[in-house]
């Protein structure tokens, strides 16, 4: 079986070589492909399946990066590139547990008030300078410096004191125990020797031509076109097998998919229709591996709890019973997703699988609404109470097709139980400034990203309801406040799990959000890349171990 596939691949390469030799192949390979003769030799000789240093991967991205110091950027493209160039003291491993990177080990002392990091001694910056605790201290100071235009200072403003007693020890002290602290040191560490004398980091050479400690070195950034990285042969976790990363910016999803099919892109995220309908053909599956796993985000219908319509818990529960979530997953995501029941990612330790579920049951929904006093007294098909009809507007932002489709489906479900719904779609900036910030909405469809850190204080705590704060639905529950407070002050994982499980029980019971669904990430990667192992963290966590067998190398000049 395996040999058969190998032979077929060899044939494919042979075919490629012929195509190239006749001059109508892909332009990107024209110059970089080996002369046809060599290809034939390799194709005939069988071997060359072992891990091998070589080749390049072309990654497709919708958006350009916005800068090369990811500590001050906030877009996902910059983060992707940052992950290759820089390292943190720690990171989340494939099972989303914290593991050391630049820190060899750490000790949590005094009940979480103090963390002592012991740094690796074998790390060098890309320019050859040794990495030491000076760099860590510098990065910390960089983050809290009010002149640094970063949105991510908050975790570091909790630090009371930070110091570096020797080149390989870094100590941070906190006012109060702060459980997200350890994970926050996944912060990209910046080179002190390159930034200490710059007045404005944004204009510094580091932001043009960065030096990191990471697995890949920066080569070039052609704005709106591509970012090129090359492997760091001296990387302290081992030299990556793939020599080059070419991050191509292709702002149109349809164009990117055509590029993928034509060989101009090796790795991209598919949309559900592409995954289900446009790639279910033998030709595609011969060349690409597709993966699907739950993504780090969920979509919800949030109610403005200041609005009298949604004050009664039974009403919110009724609206949750009124939806067939699986149907929404089917309709919006073509089945590529799961129901959301709590604000945590379903396959993580913090997710509580035992919370109250709201199965699709319109009769129960109607009964709950009747209990709450909502009846159709004038026979027009819409429930009313004290002369007010049960009708409201669902708002969402423009440009997110999944959300607007979801709104349409929700409308049809709610109308079945006599609740009238209008849909309004507004451009993002106006949506946030005019409606969310001013709490001038009835219900919204939005989503949250869910990182591996379970602290959701900013989203649920009753103190976070001010303008520009995240509890814009005005949710307030003293027990939830207490659990959130305890959760972020406790390092013990079992205890934390207890707090957050209870939190999820309460949220499921009270339904301040109608939790809708968790989408899936749907990457497609060219088949020549081996050793890709999907895990809760996705597929790129072991990128430095991906390789292309010698016989299948496409870009030989890199």
């Amino acid at each position: 079986m395996k040999g058969n596939r190998g032979r077929r691949l060899s044939l494919f390469i042979l075919f490629l070589a012929v195509v190239l030799a006749t001059g109508c192949g892909d332009r990107s390979e024209k110059k970089s492909a080996v002369p046809p003769k060599d290809v034939v030799d390799i194709a005939v000789g069988d071997g060359g399946k072992a891990p091998y240093y070589g080749d390049a991967i072309v990654i497709g991205s919708i958006g350009d990066i916005s800068g090369l110091i990811p500590n001050i950027t906030s877009d996902s493209a910059s983060r992707d590139i940052g992950d290759f160039i820089y390292d943190g003291l720690v990171r989340y491993d494939k099972n989303l547990e914290i593991e050391g990177v630049l820190a060899e080990s750490w000790e949590i002392k005094e009940g979480g008030l103090k963390i002592v990091f012991h740094l690796r001694k074998d790390v060098k910056w890309h320019d050859g300078e040794p990495f030491t605790s000076k760099d860590v201290l510098f990065t910390y100071k960089f983050m809290i410096d009010p002149r640094t235009p970063t949105a991510y200072a908050e975790s570091f403003l909790q630090v009371k004191n930070a110091y570096a007693p020797d080149p390989y020890t870094f100590i941070v002290e906190y006012e109060k125990p702060y459980a997200p602290a350890l994970g926050s040191w996944g912060l990209y560490i910046l080179p002190e020797h390159r930034l200490r004398d710059t007045e404005d980091p944004i204009k510094s050479e580091q932001n043009r031509n960065p030096v990191g400690t990471g697995a890949y070195k920066f080569v070039e950034w052609k704005p709106a076109e591509r970012v090129v990285l090359e492997s760091n042969h001296d990387y302290f976790l081992g030299r990556p097998y793939i020599n080059r990363i070419i991050y191509r910016i292709i702002p149109d999803q349809a164009t990117m998919f055509l590029e993928l099919k034509a060989g101009g892109v090796d790795f991209m995220g598919l949309t559900p229709p592409q995954f289900r309908r446009q790639t279910e053909i033998a030709e595609f599956n011969k060349n690409f591996n597709k993966f699907r796993y739950i993504s780090f985000s969920y979509t919800y219908l949030g109610y403005n709890l200041k609005n009298p319509l949604f004050k009664d818990k039974r009403v919110r529960q009724a609206l949750s019973h009124a939806l067939n979530r699986m149907d929404i997953v089917q309709g919006v995501l073509l089945g590529l997703g799961v129901e959301a029941t709590t604000p945590y990612k379903p396959d993580t330790w913090v997710h509580n699988p035992g919370v109250r579920k709201f199965e699709y049951d319109p009769e129960k929904a109607k009964k709950l609404l009747a209990d709450a006093g909502w009846k159709d007294s004038d026979g027009n098909g819409i429930l009313d109470k004290d002369g007010r009809e049960f009708s409201f507007t669902i708002m969402t932002n423009h440009g997110n097709e999944a959300r607007s489709k979801t709104a349409t489906l929700i409308k049809s479900y709610f109308e079945k139980i006599g609740v009238s719904v209008k849909i309004r779609i507004v451009e993002w900036a106006a949506f946030i400034n005019e409606f969310i910030d001013k709490k001038n909405f009835e219900a919204v469809i939005l989503g949250w990203g869910t990182g591996p850190e379970p602290d959701q204080y900013n989203i649920w705590h009753s103190s976070k309801t001010g303008e520009k704060e995240l509890n814009f639905i005005s949710y307030a529950n003293p027990e939830v406040d207490e659990l959130l407070e305890k959760g972020r002050r406790t390092f013990d994982k079992e205890k934390r799990r207890g707090y957050y499980w209870r939190l999820q029980e309460i949220l499921a019971e009270e339904q301040p959000y109608n939790f809708l669904y968790v989408g899936e990430s749907l990457p497609a990667v060219h088949r020549r890349f081996r050793n890709i192992e999907p895990a809760p963290a996705g597929i790129t966590y072991n990128f430095i171990e991906w390789y292309v067998p010698e016989s299948e190398i496409r870009y030989t000049k890199f």
Partner: protein, 326 residues
């Protein structure tokens, strides 16, 4: 002529000032601020982060102060620094994007002119013939076809099925290692689709314009005189009629100077071309005021210069206007 030019140039100053005031107010009237994309609904960004960013960009000052500061810098031709985290000067960002934009627009323009003018002349000469009706249908189909859709079809055919042309981008991954000739070929292969498709949509305007000009000129008495003198029809059309019919085209060309630097967002997005259209769009979406204002200002200047050039060119080409002036 010199006095006329000086007058026109002086008049441009208040006009430009007016334009800057309007563009500055309009962009600040749009809801949202440059910090929103970074801090809005971002669980990790606190209120402190917002204030920090607003102060960094100088947005905490009153609007008129911001305007005066911007104008002062503009007077020294400093367009300021982009609000993106790459923090590049606006002028540098524009410089990165402008060559490819001009390249594509000039090529498209050449294609349009070299097809539309003969097409217009032929339709006028053979008015109401099958050829005339055929070209009419052709150019209007081009005008009406959604180019993004046509572009996708062409990409599927020439890029995926036949593999003749690259699908997107402006050069290959190994462009930097190619010889000069190789570079030209590579760039050419990348630009064929965007240029031709871009021109396809623009044929209608110019060819129709040319046709109606031509029809008007042919009706003139001096053409009749020329024919009466027994000059060959070819000579009448190309020497006498066409030269006059071409005059108004100069105006069109003058007016299209600013469009040379303004790329089409849709086209650039579909073909992944790093041009001005995307820079501007991105600037508007992220409320990157310096970039947006910089591009609008340059566009305004070019429009005014284009108008001036059109007028001057017209005067130079048409003796009647030139002498009427004197």
């Amino acid at each position: 002529m010199g006095k006329y030019l000086a007058k026109r140039l002086l008049l441009m100053i208040p006009l430009l000032l007016g334009i800057t005031i309007i563009t500055f107010s309009v962009i600040h009237l749009a809801p949202g601020s440059p910090t929103d994309l970074v801090t809005d609904l971002n669980p990790q960004a606190g209120a402190e982060a917002r204030e920090r960013l607003i102060a960094y960009y100088g947005l905490d000052k009153p609007l008129h102060v911001q305007y005066v500061n911007w104008l002062k810098r503009l007077a020294t031709l400093d367009f300021g620094q982009s609000f993106q985290p790459d923090g590049k000067p606006v002028i540098e960002k524009i410089k990165e994007r402008i060559p490819i934009t001009i390249e594509i627009n000039v090529l498209s323009m050449i294609v349009i002119i070299s097809i539309a003018i003969p097409l217009g002349v032929i339709s006028a000469v053979k008015k109401d013939s099958f050829l005339d009706k055929g070209t009419t249908v052709f150019v209007f189909v081009g005008f009406a076809t959604p180019t993004f859709w046509l572009a996708l079809l062409c990409m599927i055919l020439f890029g995926v099925k036949l593999g003749w042309l690259p699908i997107s981008g402006i050069n290959s991954l190994d462009y930097d290692r190619l010889s000069l000739f190789g570079k030209i070929v590579d760039r050419g292969r990348h630009l064929i689709m965007p240029v031709i498709l871009g021109a396809f949509g623009g044929l209608a305007g110019l060819s129709r314009y040319m046709r109606s000009n031509m029809l008007e000129v042919v009706r003139q008495e001096y053409i009749q005189t020329a024919r009466a003198k027994g000059i060959s029809e070819k000579r009448v059309i190309f020497k006498h009629a066409m030269r006059n019919a071409l005059l108004p085209v100069i105006t069109i060309l003058g007016l299209s100077v600013p469009t040379l630097i303004g790329g089409s967002v849709i086209f650039e997005t579909i073909f992944a071309i790093p041009g001005m259209g995307r820079l501007f769009y991105q600037g508007v979406m992220s409320r990157d005021y310096p970039v947006v204002l910089g591009i609008l200002f340059i566009g305004a200047v070019l429009t005014l210069i284009g108008n001036l050039l059109a007028d001057v060119g017209y005067a130079l080409a048409d003796p009647r206007i030139r002498e009427g002036e004197g």
